[in-house]
Symmetry: D3
Amino acid sequence: MSEGKYRFQLINAFRLSEEAGFTLRAWSGPKETLIYNYQDVAPSLSDVTWDVHPGALATHGDWPVEKLEEFDIVGVNRLPIVRESCASGKYNAIVLLGGGDPSYLAAREIGRNFGVPVTSCAHAQMNVARMLGRRFSIVDISETHNMRMYNLVMQYGFIHECASIRNINFPLPRPAYSNEPSIQDEQKKALNGERSEMLEASLTEAVAAIEDDGAEVIILGCSAAFWMQPPLQRRLQSAGWEVPVLEGTRSAIEMAKLLVNLGVDASGLMLPSERPKKVRRRKIF
Amino acid sequence: MSEGKYRFQLINAFRLSEEAGFTLRAWSGPKETLIYNYQDVAPSLSDVTWDVHPGALATHGDWPVEKLEEFDIVGVNRLPIVRESCASGKYNAIVLLGGGDPSYLAAREIGRNFGVPVTSCAHAQMNVARMLGRRFSIVDISETHNMRMYNLVMQYGFIHECASIRNINFPLPRPAYSNEPSIQDEQKKALNGERSEMLEASLTEAVAAIEDDGAEVIILGCSAAFWMQPPLQRRLQSAGWEVPVLEGTRSAIEMAKLLVNLGVDASGLMLPSERPKKVRRRKIF
Amino acid sequence: MSEGKYRFQLINAFRLSEEAGFTLRAWSGPKETLIYNYQDVAPSLSDVTWDVHPGALATHGDWPVEKLEEFDIVGVNRLPIVRESCASGKYNAIVLLGGGDPSYLAAREIGRNFGVPVTSCAHAQMNVARMLGRRFSIVDISETHNMRMYNLVMQYGFIHECASIRNINFPLPRPAYSNEPSIQDEQKKALNGERSEMLEASLTEAVAAIEDDGAEVIILGCSAAFWMQPPLQRRLQSAGWEVPVLEGTRSAIEMAKLLVNLGVDASGLMLPSERPKKVRRRKIF
Amino acid sequence: MSEGKYRFQLINAFRLSEEAGFTLRAWSGPKETLIYNYQDVAPSLSDVTWDVHPGALATHGDWPVEKLEEFDIVGVNRLPIVRESCASGKYNAIVLLGGGDPSYLAAREIGRNFGVPVTSCAHAQMNVARMLGRRFSIVDISETHNMRMYNLVMQYGFIHECASIRNINFPLPRPAYSNEPSIQDEQKKALNGERSEMLEASLTEAVAAIEDDGAEVIILGCSAAFWMQPPLQRRLQSAGWEVPVLEGTRSAIEMAKLLVNLGVDASGLMLPSERPKKVRRRKIF
Amino acid sequence: MSEGKYRFQLINAFRLSEEAGFTLRAWSGPKETLIYNYQDVAPSLSDVTWDVHPGALATHGDWPVEKLEEFDIVGVNRLPIVRESCASGKYNAIVLLGGGDPSYLAAREIGRNFGVPVTSCAHAQMNVARMLGRRFSIVDISETHNMRMYNLVMQYGFIHECASIRNINFPLPRPAYSNEPSIQDEQKKALNGERSEMLEASLTEAVAAIEDDGAEVIILGCSAAFWMQPPLQRRLQSAGWEVPVLEGTRSAIEMAKLLVNLGVDASGLMLPSERPKKVRRRKIF
Amino acid sequence: MSEGKYRFQLINAFRLSEEAGFTLRAWSGPKETLIYNYQDVAPSLSDVTWDVHPGALATHGDWPVEKLEEFDIVGVNRLPIVRESCASGKYNAIVLLGGGDPSYLAAREIGRNFGVPVTSCAHAQMNVARMLGRRFSIVDISETHNMRMYNLVMQYGFIHECASIRNINFPLPRPAYSNEPSIQDEQKKALNGERSEMLEASLTEAVAAIEDDGAEVIILGCSAAFWMQPPLQRRLQSAGWEVPVLEGTRSAIEMAKLLVNLGVDASGLMLPSERPKKVRRRKIF
């Protein structure tokens, strides 16, 4: 695996056990099954030589990530995989999967040591959204995850571009809350052409973001919502709204290609080396 | 010319007469000669099927563009070429050449009617810079051109990301000012390995932008300065500054590829259709 | 016409043919008929010696301007008239008519060469609104025109002062859309004391801007809406809202007087001369 | 005194005793002598029917105002004069003299009850500066007075437009500091064509504001510095800087004319009436 | 009264006559009765040795303060009390009571001369709110008082943190408006467990601030609303909203303790001394 | 340990081995020795019943933390200690030691589950600085650590309040760089009354922050720099600069007291519970 213009390592945010009962993607098996919305992402990978890592086994619990503590834990678990992938010399970019970008900045800092660009889904979506309009809104799944996205918007400096974060209130499963509606059921219904309340709620919130919040582009927060990109885009289009809808995986892959083609990864002034040859006396905002 | 993943029309900002005495690029001839810094851009075009338009013959005078009035005039002259290129059905993206983005928003508005993304050098550089760091500075050639860039930063909403616009004071030639140093001489010197005051000034200002203004990425303003990207990048690197330097042509080409791959052009809420099916009651900032 | 404290040239944004069927103002004839809302503007012109230019004949089509491309085209068409007016030596200020300020910055750049201040309707309204309150909203006629105003707010740097742009959805006429309600009919109804849906919609949106968006002043976008200033002001007042409503023509005329009286036109640091005696190393935001 | 288009009451910020030894203006006598820089202001008053009030006798001490406490005290002392002037029915605008705008918002609130616009020097300068460029710097006399100007910039919402406040360090006289250089001596020197260190310092700081801070317009802080407008403008001009310099008195007078001509005073949503007929549920920023 | 870690002087904003008919607090008598919501504040004072000044007798009229003019007047009336309290040497902090912070900056300037920190209710609430969340909303009593709070938000630089100011429309009493609902009646009802429309309106607006405006913390504007802190906090909590509600008196007392413990009062660069030993050439924003 | 008004658990950011050769504080032993600048902090702890945890043993390496990756790792290592401390019921606040706030938001999220406020040094300093002036600068030790602070400023939303981050270039020790100047030597020199280049550099940068960047308050970044607070404060004072200097430990302790006294921890809208009773449809900025 050393030929090809693009040689990417994709790395999932975490891996659950088979017993976790969360089946939006597989935890092992053929690489295609390890990516949430592979059916939609496939064209973006067609000119890429790629591997995908299933993610480090979750140590925060056997359920998907939603709280800040959990994001921090899985983020740190992933960093050694990032380092190994860079050190292997096999890849010219790393694509971090998952909607909430756990430990993205640290991963990018690692990548810089190797001259390897690292992209991640929320960061890539925000950057692509910026190309398409002045302001975007995030449609996301739950109060907790929404505020994770809020933190990312703050961290990445998109406060003036983010019109709002909209909550469709379909939280990720947790053992203690067994009677909640399930995102995987919603996805199945939608893919089967049945009515999905999750998709309907997303449409409602996307329209509200357009009409009330000044959004010009819609992006999706949690990777468990990325499957909605095609149907949500179609529904908005058919309702008469000429607004792009993005999702994270393709955004991160395409941003990685752009960085590879331009021969850049990240500024060493944003993510300094251990002992940079030149240092600044001051940094202003 | 209908095969290939990327089918791009590049369009220069304007065309002068052969007598204009401005020889940084050709006004006619083989397509490669029509692009300012083709030697640097070639890799980005290697997977693209492309044409380049020499630009509409300048009607503001027979000298390169620097004043707002001149930008407006050449911008409007280019719009019919944009429309024809879109209408031809031959291209899946339009790349506007030239540093100061004359009539870019109107060109993009035209592109939207055809579902064809349109990119431009300043806008693309700012967006790519955003991916690499939190703040960028523009190194540019003259007071007049600098303030054009300032207007673009305002128009595109990058006021929080633009740390400064730095002036190296090598204005474009005008008949009335015949004794000024010439950018084409500077380029020749630099390419010949001789000392170029223009490049030295750019290094000085880029370092000042880093040390004083908080810049984390350097972009170049005028297309007549794009040739400096490789040497300026090398000089900064060898001085110990780990900072990416961009130029516009590759940024615009690569951004066009990204948009093509994601199947998006621009938000219809930013650049509305003539009679959109759905309209908003309000737009906020 | 060389006496008087104020000697102003007013210049319309464009001129249509008599067949265009757009009769909110005349395209030729007595100067008073060439101004949209002359009845309201007359007091502001009573101490001015003034000429009015009907505008360059439209080259974008025989309909009023609403799209960015059209704004760019008519803007460039007007620039020679601005230059001639300045060069004539007859005027101590130029007032650009029309709501969307086509090529205002370039026109102002030209004016600076002659030491002649140039004002324009949107820019003047925003500046006057700033004097009266902290935030203003723009009531405007259509999605397309609204986004033109949005661009102006960005360009002029009023993003913190503009609370919202409100859309009453009465687009300007275009040949392809013959069955739409007509602004000139609305104006007639309103002036005749009949109910005008356009005025009602403006009231609704102005109140929404006050109640929801934080607006403290209302300004009007398109010059085809300027006639509403007196009735909208009255309606808001009688509804109990103590909020100033502005329109562009008087704002631009009065701002021109202020500039004349203070002996200033525009900063040469914002709109530099061709070869300024002094140049800056940097420009920050 | 009821005829004329403009009938203005000018009100000084305070009045000292004859013993105060501060002679930049008179405390009693012909109205022309009561205005700091009458020689420069006269043309702006030539079409105005005007009175000037010498100001309430200072109760904070017998020296000019520089500290926040002193500004608050003289501001409150002036409010009854504002009310009486409005109530007299003789004036269609009130112009508050003095650089630091003591109690301007309260004075404007009073004016609104009578439908009388009230203008003030700092507020007017900032608004006029906004018309001429995107950013202005304030050249002012002392650390204490500078921070008063800072507070006004915050209060009026010009933080994005104010590039900097520059300090020339010529504080106003106080009994406890008898050996300091005197502004009135500086003024005399300058008017006599001698070198004035105060003027030199202003030039130095104005140039620094242009070169370092991004200022496009210069305004003056304290009214005791207003006399420098003409020489500072000339010095900058002759040094090659094409930058407008304003001072407060003319700015406030001309802004008052503009408000009178447009028939507006201030938004009742910014400065509400005692019991407005309509109230809002919320106010956003 | 010289022992104890905290020796605070509390100073009311003003004092009315006994005939004023405003009985939310006493104007004379035991010190506990002079504080609006003493029952809630008592724990914060339990480790403080404290005096309370009833406030200077009101000179603006015999009714509570709501207009800007009235705030300016009572603010200046209080300054001598601040100075005397500092000069007495008895106190290590001054706590200014009242919601709208009349002349707070000037009072703090006085305090600095003595090295005595001065806190005030609105300023303290905003600072504490900042510690608990990213954005706060102010629930306040009337259009006039709301805009006073707006001015304070501007003055203190909290425009990015203040999500909105919400109006419950229970204005303070004025002789001319005798039939209005009374805040003191509302307080009685609420404390008696009866339905208070004022409290209901506050709940409605607090929820709207949370749901619509992005507020994460609720603060109260007028001191006549401070009594609502406990019931409003309970109501929001029982409705499921996990949002802190603050009021000013405790916030100002606790902030004073923090400043005393850290040995700081205010920056001399924000509130300069009369003749500081060191002065700056410039101040930027 | 259940009595007392304040019962605090202090938790260090990490613990190194005895062999690490980093002796600014102890890794085990009497609790007083576990705190960097105990001598300065003692008064703030005098009314607190407190424990201190030495920190989880470092797993990133046996050297102090400076890179983002390292911050993430030690942050996650500390979270179980935070949870145990909260769950023990012994403490009414948690104070996180260390300058760069590793995993502070996640720790605070944990604290909220128990109703226990959690404070941290950078966050507390920024909040206290906000109380003392409008803008602060951070004086910090190295390019890498400075950019960590930059990230915190972004994350906490203090971009408008942070004037600059100043770099004195005394990085923390790493095995690979054995010849660098040592902070512990600098501290010893300074405490012995000898010249410390580290302190001199801090003075230089603090003055530059005041004179050039608009800082009104100085805060310190890395906890290894906290010892400089008293001498830096004295040096600035004796140089004539009336500017408060803060450090993190006392700021975090005093902020914890304030939160305890007001009975608040953090907004549940900023850090939502797992399944909040009420959820919002949107969150805006």
